[in-house]
């Protein structure tokens, strides 16, 4: 499982945010487009692309895209 690919999948869930804003260190909850509804899209992405279950606490307790990547990778 690659980080770059994960970031691409992550970014693909957003409609308005420029692709350049997404990197491993992006604090995704600080993006203006972030919302509780976006969280569902990310959970859906992890299910679809990686067959991994992310829970509410995983979103609440992580800060960066890399944090989430580590969670998903550990459950692969």
């Amino acid at each position: 499982m690659e980080l770059d690919k994960f970031i691409q999948h992550f970014a693909a869930q957003f409609e308005e945010t420029d692709i350049s804003k997404f990197s491993a260190d992006t604090k995704y909850k600080e993006l203006t487009e972030w919302s509780s509804l976006m969280a569902l899209a990310i959970i859906g992405m992890a299910d679809e692309e990686y067959d991994v279950k992310i829970k509410g606490d995983d979103i609440r307790n992580s800060q960066t895209i890399n944090d989430l990547f580590i969670i998903v990778k550990s459950r692969k």
Binding site: S35, S36, L40, I43, K53, I54, K55, G56
Partner: protein, 352 residues
């Protein structure tokens, strides 16, 4: 493994009743952008809400009176009544006892309450059909009353629940007929997710106290008491996108059901974003998956029978149809059912 295959039970009729009060989400007091995004995600434009004095049992009672009349059933022939709800009249006695008397059913009637929410209709069907089947004709006719008035449990200042939930009461009428095709079920439970949808106070773990009435602000747009229903939308979403399609597939695989022979797949109406994910994962055509979310929201245990009545009534009364129903949520609890309807009695949606 909770698989069930139940012979000799036929669905004869379905009826649903909703309160007259309409809450339109276009008036929900959050910013316009947030509101539009919310409505398009959850797919709920408006929903029905009871007044302070109306209970779930009232909606189910009205639906039942009409259905019994249209079925032309004698009340003395009804040997079983099950009421599935998480919004009963009282903590005790069981509301099903009250309903037996109100409906004028025989005192030789088996009654029971079941406390389940979203998955309630599927579980209720499995319970009532099992009882009827094993009573070998002693339960001739039976009523499964299923509904909730979630508006009584949610905070208007909680944007994660208020715009989503609506109120409804339903009844499904079943009859014992030997030699009929079996009802088939897959049922499951994961109490690890008990905290994902919960009303914390007012039961016996955390008894009602003065503190139960305190409005607590968790974040912007989310203020509620411990008597209000809390919903962790992320947990439920994550659970449902994997378990709901799995349950349908398990049912199909276990009983060798030809997917193409199914006319309609009716899902618990959780929210549109979630339901569409489930539909796409199962690769189901949208024509085969009815929705009542737009006008009625998520009515908890009532969603499947309500959707059948509001979206499929014309076909239910005029055709034979093969169905799969799948419901999932609070508990966490979920399941799927295969059933057939053949020219059933289905009154138009009733208003209370």
């Amino acid at each position: 493994m909770a698989y069930l295959s139940i012979p000799n039970v036929v669905v004869r009729g379905i009826s649903a009743c909703v309160p007259q009060i309409i809450d339109d989400n276009s008036h929900y007091p959050i910013s316009k952008d947030d509101r539009l995004k919310l409505i398009s995600t959850i797919g709920v434009e408006r929903k029905r809400r009871v007044d302070d004095v109306t209970c779930t049992s009232d909606l189910c009672f009205k639906a039942s009176e009409k259905l019994i009349e249209d079925l032309n059933w004698g009340k003395s022939e009804i040997d079983c009544l099950i009421f599935v709800t998480q919004t009963p009249d009282y903590i005790l006695p069981a509301t099903s006892c009250i309903l037996q008397n109100r409906l004028g059913l025989s005192t030789e009637c088996y009654t029971m309450d079941i406390s389940l929410g979203c998955s309630g209709w599927v579980y209720g069907m499995s319970t009532i059909a099992s009882l009827m089947s094993s009573a070998h004709g002693n339960f001739r006719k039976a009523l499964l009353l299923v509904g909730d008035t979630m508006s009584k449990t949610i905070s208007i200042e909680d944007k994660s629940t208020w715009p989503l939930f609506g109120d409804a009461g339903t009844v499904t009428a079943l009859e014992y007929v030997e030699g009929n095709e079996e009802l088939k079920f897959h049922l499951a439970t994961d109490g690890d997710g008990a905290d994902s949808i919960i009303v914390r106070d007012g039961g016996f773990r955390n008894k009602f106290s003065v503190d139960s009435l305190k409005m607590i602000k968790y974040e912007e747009g989310i203020t509620r008491t411990n008597l209000s229903c809390f919903l962790d939308g992320m947990d439920v979403f994550s659970f449902a996108i994997s378990k709901a399609p799995q349950s349908v597939n398990k049912l199909i695989d276990k009983y060798n059901i030809d997917k193409n022979s199914i006319d309609y797949f009716t899902f618990h109406q959780a929210n549109l974003f979630l339901n569409e994910k489930i539909r796409k994962k199962l690769k189901l055509e949208s024509e085969k998956v009815p929705y009542s979310l737009k006008n009625f929201g998520n009515t908890s245990s009532a969603t499947i029978p309500l959707t059948l009545v509001t979206e499929l009534r014309d076909e239910l009364i005029s055709k034979k149809l093969n169905h799969i129903g799948c419901a999932f949520g609070v508990g966490l609890s979920w399941g799927s059912v295969y059933f057939v309807t053949d020219h059933i009695i289905c009154p138009e949606l009733i208003e209370y």
